[in-house]
Every structure is written in C-alpha cells, then in structure tokens.
C-alpha cells in the first residue's frame, strides 16, 4: 500500500486549528526526549517549563505580565504578515517606543497629574511608528526589502538606548549605574489587582486584541490587508493601493510595538536600563505564527510563550536546567507549526496499484 500527497481543493480548517496544538504537544515530547538523550533531566524540564506555572496559581500573574507585551507586539506584526509585509525589527520599534515614552517621563518628572501616563503611552506609540516609518518609506519609494531595513534599525536602536542610558539620561542619583531615574507615581503603571503584580498593561492588551479582531474581520481595512497579502495584483485591480497598505501595516506594527515598549518600561521595569531589550520583538514573531495571525489565536499563543519563559526561570532554579534552552523549545514549536502547515494544504491519499481504472471515490486519511 503506497501513499502520496495531493493538494486539497480548499485549506482544511480542522488542521488549521489542530496544528498549533499538535505543535506544542510534539515539542513537549520531542524536547523531553532530546534533552534527556543529551544528559539533562529532559522530562523534568518539560514539566517545569510547560506545566508547573499552570499548576501554581501564584505564577499566573507572572504569566499575564510576561504575555502582555508579547501579545501586543504580535498583534501588530500579524497584521503586517497577513499583508506580506515582513516587519522583523519589532524589537527596535519596541525599544524606541520605550525611549520616546521615557523622554516624556523625564520631562514631566517633577510634575504630577493623571494625564502624564497617557501622554507617555502616546509618545511610545508615536515613537514606534516613527521608527517603522523609515522602512515603510524605503519600501514604497525605493523598493528596498523591509526585512533587512527593519532588522538593521533594531540593532541601531540598541545603540541609541545604550547611548542615552549611559550618557545624557543617566540618573544623577544612581551612583554611576547606567539607568534613568525611577518613574514617579504618576508615571508608573497602576496595579489593578491588589496584592499582585498585575498592572494596567494587561487591560491594554485585552483592548488591543479585541479592537484588532474587530477591525480585521469586519472592516474594509482588514479586507484590504488580506487581499494585498494574498494576491497583490487582484488588490490593485480591486482599487486598493499597495503602497498605502505597506504604510498602514508598518505603522500599525511599529505603533503597537512602541506601545508595548513604553508599557513595559513604565510597568515591570519602572525605568530604562541597558538590559531593557529582552527579545520580545522576536518572540512576538513566533507568537504571531503560532496564533495563525489571528488576534484570538495570538492571545492563546502569547500565553503559551509566556509559559515557557516563566517555566524556564522556574526550571533553572528548581532543577538547574539552563535557561537558554527555552529558546530551543520555542524554535521547535515554530518549526513544527510550519511543518504542520503542510497538512493544512495537502492530504494523504492511498495509491491504487495499476489495474483496471475505476472512477470510484478514493479512501482518504488525515
């Protein structure tokens, strides 16, 4: 009995929803096996990374806090990816957003008022947008591929951050430590659940997800994004401007990344330090794909990735499992998801031996 693969006439929605779940499960199994073979406590690591944070209710707040920025960035990226705009430098937009917001914070440090925090958030959004507008201009004017430009700019943004934090923005009261002053009470994010570390950025995250969901599924803008990503010639035929779509996609991605940046600075960090770049801009790429570029999926996928971060820290303390291995688990999930994509578009079919032809229906598997 031989099998072969043939293209499905329509993409399988069942597989579309199933593959991310399978990807995570297979990662857990495969990861456990591989790390065990390499001499680590493989399955202990899987338990700590994927399961312990779920069981330990005390850790749920950590999940929310870790997931928030990743989800916000991923929502912005997913809009771009759906339009075939590959914003790989969200990390840079995230950093510049934080920088812009911090700039406002430093200016208003001696003042107080409930308008300060929104002003910082606005600055964060604008900063991220500004940083993303350069690749947008270069792509629409000069057809320069945005993958490389957004990426190069994220390296530049790290240098910008270092310059400011080691130089003009260094706090006079920090004994030479490279950090800005601590944000004042008007400038820090309020805690919304007393007794926990859950701050207002969680609410912002939920709002972003809901708005994105609504816009992408119900508005003509969402339709435009989908057409441009699927068939650019048809988009032009339908009267949509490819250039404008590229601008939208990059500005939305940059703005949301910048928002995540200032929220993270004003929230968990409370100030700007050289260790600020935590790679969320890249993790968000994985989340975007794992969530199938859909806001609801991204919400779930963001929690899963946050799970690996929180669990990874736990694994390091409880069983001395090295934290960098978390990156390998994350890459594995993405690989398996991309491999699983194959089954969304193709199905396995039994091949009949070469006897008398019959136009009967064929048995299908998966």
């Amino acid at each position: 009995m031989r099998f072969k693969f043939e293209k499905r006439p329509e993409a399988s929605t069942a597989m579309l929803y199933l593959t991310p779940v399978v990807a995570v499960i297979v990662t857990m199994v495969l990861g456990g096996v591989i790390f065990s073979l390499l001499g680590f406590n493989g399955f202990g690591a899987v338990r700590e990374i994927f399961l312990s944070p779920l069981i330990n209710a005390y850790k749920w707040q950590d999940l929310a806090v870790k997931a928030a920025p990743i989800i916000i960035i991923a929502v912005g990226l997913s809009i771009g990816f759906r339009a075939n705009v590959w914003n790989i430098g969200a990390e840079g937009q995230y950093i510049v957003g934080a920088i812009a917001g911090t700039g406002v914070a430093l200016l208003t440090h001696q003042m107080s008022g409930f308008w300060i925090l929104p002003a910082m958030m606005l600055a964060g959004v604008l900063g991220g947008m500004a940083w993303a507008s350069v690749p947008a201009l270069l792509r629409t004017r000069y057809q320069v591929n945005e993958i490389l430009t957004t990426l190069m700019l994220s390296y530049v943004s790290i240098q910008l951050l270092n310059y400011l934090v080691f130089g003009p923005w260094k706090s006079p009261t920090s004994f030479g430590q490279p950090q800005t002053v601590l944000f004042s009470s008007s400038q820090a994010l309020p805690y919304i659940i007393p007794g926990t570390v859950v701050q207002a950025n969680v609410i912002v995250t939920l709002v972003v997800v809901l708005v994105a969901w609504f816009v992408m599924s119900r508005s003509v803008f969402g339709f435009q994004i989908r057409v441009v990503g699927s068939a650019p010639q048809a988009a032009r035929h339908g009267g949509f401007s490819a250039d404008r779509t590229v601008w939208f996609a990059l500005l939305v991605g940059g703005g949301l990344a910048g928002l995540a940046g200032i929220l993270e600075a004003a929230g968990p960090f409370g100030r700007l330090v050289p260790q600020f770049p935590t790679g969320y801009g890249f993790t968000a790429i994985i989340v975007a794909f794992l969530g199938r570029l859909h806001p609801a999926g991204i919400l779930v996928a963001g929690l899963v990735l946050a799970l690996t971060f929180v669990g990874g820290e736990m694994a390091q303390t409880t069983i001395a499992f090295p934290f960098p291995a978390v990156g390998i688990f994350q890459a594995m999930m993405l690989f398996l998801l991309l491999a699983g994509d194959f089954f969304v578009r193709y199905r396995m079919v039994r091949v009949r031996p070469q006897t008398a032809p019959a136009a009967a229906s064929r048995p299908e598997t998966a």
């Binding site: 329509e10 119900r218 508005s219 339709f223 057409v227 010639q233 035929h237 339908g238 009267g239 070469q354």
Partner: protein, 514 residues
C-alpha cells in the same frame, strides 16, 4: 502491398487521474512513421496531460506505451529525448535571463562545447530556413522568436517524433504558414508529428489523421482532409453547434467610450508602452481588439481598468466625462468595469470565497461597504444571484474561487461584472481555457449586455472569437492600434498582416542582424 510497418508510437488504455478529475480515460492513440497526426479537443479535454506522459514529464496510472512496436516505459524527459521524442511546449520552457544558446544547451543531454553547439544551431537554422541570434537574451525576444528556440532545441535531437502543443496560438497567419513548411519538410524526412490544437482550419490544412478527445476519452478518429470543420467541431463538443443569437443589425447609440491618443510608458523592465491609441465604442457596440500575445494587450487593459492611470485626463472619456487620470475605484463609480486576462490572482483571489471576491470589485457600487465596515449579507446575496443567473457550478457563496473549474470561475467573474450593469465593460481573453459550454454562455451574456446599451471592448488572441462576436475590429501591434474596421467587411489576410506588424520587416531585420 507492403508488410505492416509498426506504429512509431502506440498508446493503449492510458489512464491518468488528478484530484477530482479523470484527465485521461482509457485513451488509445496510434501514430505512423512520417505521419502528421492531429490531437484534437477543446481546453480541458486531456490533450496536454496525454502529451506530457509521452514526453516523460508524468507517468500514466494505467495503460501501455509502445515505440516502434516495442513495449516501453518513459520514466523521465531524458528517456523520452533518448528515444527521439522532441517536444515544443505550449507555455515555453525557457529561461528569460539566459541566452538562446544557454537555453538550448539546457534542453540537450549531450555535452557540447559552446562553439560546437553554436555551429550545430546555425546548421539547423539554415536547414529549415529559420532565423535567430544565438547570443540574445531570451527576455528581449518576441514570442515567435521564442518558439523558434523551442523548435531548434527539439530539432537538434534529430527527433523521430515531434510533439507540438498548441503552437500557433502565438503566431500571425503568415508565421503559421512558415511553420507548416518546416513541419511538412520534417514529415517528408520520416519524422512523425503529433500536432495538438483546437484550431480546425489549421488541422484541415496540415494533418492526415486526427484523434479527437473529449472529457478525457477518445471519441473519434478521422481524416481531417475529408471532414468538415463543422463535423469535427461537433465531435469535439459532443453536441450540435448552436448558432449564437446575435440580432442582425444592432442599433448603436451615442459614443460611450472614447479613447484618444492614449500613451503610457512601459511598465516594469519589459512592459510594452502604449503609443497614441485611439478608438471609439458606441452604446450597444462590441469592439474587438485582435493581436498576437505580448503586443500591449495587458498594458491596454490596465490603462482602461484604472490600474495604470494615464497622465492625460482627456485620454479616456466615458459618456463625455474625462476619466483618464482616475484610479480603478473612481472608474468603477463612473460605471466602468473590467475583466483582466488572468483569472487566478488578478481578476479573483483564489483563496477567498466567492462572496469575498464579490466585495473585491463590487463593494463601492453595490453598497457592500458602509462607513468603513463590511456588509457581508449584501455580498452573499449578490454572489448568490450571480451564481444562479450564470449557472456557476459551485457549492455556494462560501466556495473558494480556487476550487472552481476554469470555466466556472470565468463565468462567475463575468457575471460579477455584468450584473453590476456597467456602462462600459472591457474584457481580455474572455474564454481562454474555458470549455465550449461556458464559452457560449459568456459570449451570449456579452451580447445581451450590449443589447441593453453598454459599450463593450473585447481584447482577444482568438480571431475566430472576435469575428463571431464583434461589430468592429482593430489590431494592436507593438503598442499601436490600427484603424478600426467593420467585421462584416474584414479581410483576414489584411488582419494577419496587421497582427504581424505593418512594419513587419523590422522584426526580421533585427533577427538577421547577427
């Protein structure tokens, strides 16, 4: 009497299946040595599939192949070439950025030095009276010249069976004659020729035997020299031909579409520029634009649809309004609609549902978008109307465009535009790759739309289609449009010359300047 000579090629009981379709159903084909054998059938009958198996690109699911009496299997293209089977593809298998010589080298299995290869190529060109510059880059060549590369590549193999897949769809009538001379010479030298086409008058002129395919099965074998075009066409379609219902003398109204000296620079690095194109279409008139592929048809469609607006607002006028500089969206609001040549990816999005595809072009005129938000119900209702009015075989508005067959998708696209009641409709290649039933339905729909008072422009490479459908005709060549002529008074020979270019010598001159 002579002893029976084995068939050069004999196919028996060939079967080939694809997902959802039985492309070849128990096909039997026999070609004698030195015979010019036609393989006839309309689009989708299974001709290309069958031939790809002879050329070794695909394998049959069942059946046998015999070569000069010996049972064989053709596992890959190299094996086919070793047997002496040469193939000239319908959609050329050429590499644009490489030179003519490099393209030929890639099609040969023998390893020749560049100098040897060039010498052999020039020999073949001379032997068959063809002209080509071996060092030109393929992307700079005309369509007819590109086909010559394919032919030379096949001839260098010293083929004993030459397969030509729809070779004349890209040639002017004069070039077709030149090709026939070459083919007859080859047949005389003992090479069998398998000639695939749906052009009946050519087959009558060239071929001795014809095998007719319909729906994957062989329905007849005949001698084209003894049959009439009508009888062969009926065998191809499987029904008696219905005359298209065209009102004898259509009344034409006022001038609806006026194109005045439309000029556009070429788009992209090898796009054809449009030069001073001028024509007029009145209400109720169907205006045809004939021409060989690659002479600016696509650029003209983009210029008319609004995807490539002009500098001059006066260049295009609809009902007196200057629309030359307007983009696609505004033109639709003025009542212009268009259907580009490419169904998949240009006229429609394959991954989207039919309802979403309706939103693509219909949203502004039909109220599917209100203050930035979509109204899915309106789109679904409209799509349902299109599907039922045009008998589109689809499961419903939620089917994806990519899941429809070529003919059905084309019917949907046409229906989508026609039911918007445009005042001006421009279509390009309306029935390309479409089965005869759907083609007839589309032609009738266009005629009905014209009868209702719209102005219609049909751009097509199929001269037969234009002659049966249109009132007036012009020929596009190298981005220029000939003066219009009434179809009733048209002279095929003259049209052929125009298609080859009034300054047709220029192309040949360039080719000789080696």
């Amino acid at each position: 009497m002579h002893t029976a000579v084995p068939y050069r090629l004999e196919l028996e009981g060939i079967v080939k299946r694809f997902p959802g379709v039985l492309a070849n159903d128990d096909v039997t084909l026999r070609v004698k040595p030195g015979e010019i054998h036609a393989l006839l059938g309309e689009n989708g009958a299974g001709k290309s599939t069958l031939v790809k198996m002879i050329a070794g690109i695909m394998q049959p699911d069942a059946g046998t192949i015999s070569w000069n009496g010996q049972r064989i299997e053709i596992h890959n293209p190299r094996a086919a070439r070793r047997l002496g089977i040469g193939m000239v593809f319908q959609h050329f298998s050429l590499f644009e950025a490489l030179t003519v010589l490099e393209n030929i080298a890639l099609g040969l299995d023998a390893r020749l030095s560049p100098r040897e290869l060039e010498a052999r190529v020039r020999e073949v060109l001379k032997q068959y009276g063809l002209s080509l510059d071996p060092h030109r880059i393929v992307s700079t060549l005309s369509v007819g010249e590109r086909q010559r590369i394919e032919i030379v590549r096949a001839l260098l193999l010293n083929p004993t069976l030459l397969i030509m897949d729809e070779p004349t769809s890209v040639l002017t009538p004069q070039e077709v004659e030149q090709l026939f001379v070459v083919l007859r010479q080859l047949a005389q030298e003992g090479c069998s020729i398998l000639y695939i086409s749906h052009k009946l008058h050519e087959i009558k002129a060239l071929c001795e035997t014809a095998t007719i395919l319909r729906g994957g099965k062989v329905v007849a074998e005949c001698d084209p020299r003894r049959e009439t075009s009508k009888s062969m066409a009926e065998l191809m379609i499987g029904a008696s031909l219905r005359e298209i219902n065209k009102t004898a003398s259509r009344q034409h109204g006022h001038q609806k579409l006026v194109v005045n000296r439309l000029t556009l620079p070429g788009h992209g690095h090898f796009g054809m520029p449009l030069r001073e194109i001028s024509f007029t279409v009145r209400a109720g008139e169907i205006f045809g634009i004939a021409g060989v592929a690659g002479n600016g048809q696509n650029a003209l469609l983009l210029a008319l649809s609004g995807e490539a607006p002009a500098e001059d607002a006066d260049a295009i006028t609809v009902d007196g309004e200057r629309v030359g500089r307007l983009a696609a969206k505004e033109r639709r609001l003025k009542g212009m609609a268009s259907v580009p040549e490419e169904r998949n990816g240009h006229a429609a999005v394959p991954e989207f549902t039919l309802a979403d595809n309706s939103i693509l072009t219909g949203r502004d005129r039909l109220g599917m978008v209100v203050s930035g938000l979509l109204r899915p119900k309106i789109a679904r209702d409209y799509t349902g109307k299109v599907i039922s009015t045009f008998s589109v075989k689809a499961l419903g508005h939620a089917s994806t465009a990519g899941s429809l067959s070529g003919g059905n998708l084309q019917k949907y696209i046409m229906g989508r535009e026609i039911l918007q009641k445009p005042t001006v409709l421009v279509v390009s290649q309306p029935t390309w790759g479409v089965d005869a039933g759907a083609a007839a339905a589309i032609h009738q729909a266009l005629i009905d739309l014209a009868a209702a008072g719209s102005a219609i422009v049909v751009i097509s490479q199929d001269l037969d289609e234009l002659l049966s459908l249109c009132d007036t005709l012009a020929v596009i060549n190298e981005g220029r449009l000939s003066p219009a002529m009434k179809v009733a008074e048209a002279d095929i020979h003259k049209i052929g010359l125009l298609m080859g270019g009034i300054h047709g010598e220029t192309q040949q001159e360039a080719a000789h300047a080696v």
